[in-house]
């Protein structure tokens, strides 16, 4: 368990360091994710503790971003001016993204995979 927590923190720290030192434009935590992926593929073995820790973090992700969401209280001017437009753009963009992704996926499965799919 401790090893898994250390692995996550070490990847995040290295990710932040890479982000700052080399100017990789990806956010540090995302670089950390890529580093963890590399680590997992280099040292191939089952990691039940890592699965438990990350499942716990993912399950509580929503609680962790409440403090950030509350920050919207400082955006009253933006929301009163662009709130409706943001709602419309978000709804349209979410629906379009879902349709395009699903259709491209289905097309590519039919075109490039041998199997039959509904």
């Amino acid at each position: 368990m401790l090893n898994a927590i250390f692995l996550l923190l070490a990847c995040q720290l290295s990710g932040e360091a890479l982000h700052r030192l080399t100017g990789v434009p990806l956010p540090g935590a995302v670089v950390g994710m890529v580093l963890l992926l590399i680590w997992l593929s280099v040292r191939r073995r089952e990691r039940p503790a890592l699965t438990v820790v990350t499942a716990w973090l993912t399950a509580h992700l929503t609680l962790m971003f409440v403090p950030a969401a509350v920050g919207v209280m400082e955006q009253g001017a933006v929301l009163s001016r662009y709130g409706l437009a943001l709602v419309a753009a978000t709804v349209v963009s979410t629906a379009l993204t879902m349709i395009v992704t699903a259709l491209v996926f289905r097309w590519a499965v039919r075109r490039f995979s041998e199997e039959d799919v509904a």
Binding site: P67, V70, L86
Partner: protein, 232 residues
């Protein structure tokens, strides 16, 4: 009694945040995890009201709740695990996954930014909605990095997730895509973790594909937008 007044210790707002969230989480569970009962959707306005009533500035609240928001970083790093777990499926479906991910990420950015630009929104708002399909902590990171407003990005992303989770089934039925791999992947790419939670309720494969779509899109959208921000 001695020590710092309770109002100025992190303890008060940490307890309030976890307590309010836990309360709405119970309601959400009773609703069968209906997207409209998402606990963040209701905890956020209640906490804002508490801050306003008590005259607490947001900066104080944010400093007090650092122990919670700090965990977002390790949680993002941990998204590598679902990608790793699905590696066999990724190899098997490499072409569909790659093409659908690319098409989805570009559609999301172009449509969201395009609509807001047409409506005359300034750059900080465009930069806040651009990462709307990624998981919240990544969207906040990207928004902050490309000149957006992280808290605005968080709220937009949350809303996108709730909408995505609600429209997924009827929308994908209407389009006629029945393959649960395509459906799940599309929901994860378009509506991140909130969508993935919904996908897991419907079908195990759809859920796994949705987690994969969320994790991969976090990386791709972050890459696309960071590069785009260097150019524009």
């Amino acid at each position: 009694m001695s020590g710092a007044p309770l109002l100025t210790t992190p303890l008060l707002w940490l307890a309030a945040t976890v307590g309010v969230f836990a309360g709405f989480d119970v309601l959400s569970r009773r609703s069968g995890r209906h997207p409209l009962c998402h606990p963040v959707l209701w905890s956020t306005p209640v906490l804002i009201a508490l801050l306003l009533v008590s005259g607490t500035p947001y900066a104080t609240y944010r400093a007090a709740t650092v122990p919670l928001s700090f965990l977002l970083g390790p949680a993002v790093v941990g998204l590598a695990v679902p990608i790793w777990r699905e590696r066999a499926r990724i190899r098997h479906l490499a072409v569909p996954v790659t093409l659908a991910l690319g098409a989805g990420a570009i559609t999301s950015i172009v449509s969201a930014v395009g609509i807001m630009a047409l409506l005359g929104a300034p750059r900080p708002i465009l930069a806040s909605i651009a990462p709307r399909a990624t998981t919240t902590p990544v969207a906040m990171d990207i928004a902050g990095q490309i000149g957006g407003i992280p808290s605005l990005a968080a709220v937009i992303v949350l809303f996108a997730g709730v909408i995505g989770a609600m429209i997924a089934t009827p929308l994908l039925n209407a389009v006629g895509v029945r393959d649960y791999r395509a459906r799940g992947f599309a929901v994860g790419v378009a509506a991140h973790g909130v969508g993935a939670a919904r996908a897991f309720q419907v079908d195990e494969t759809a859920g796994a594909m949705a987690s994969l779509g969320m994790a991969l899109n976090a990386v791709l959208t972050a890459a696309l937008l960071s590069i785009l921000a260097l150019l524009v």
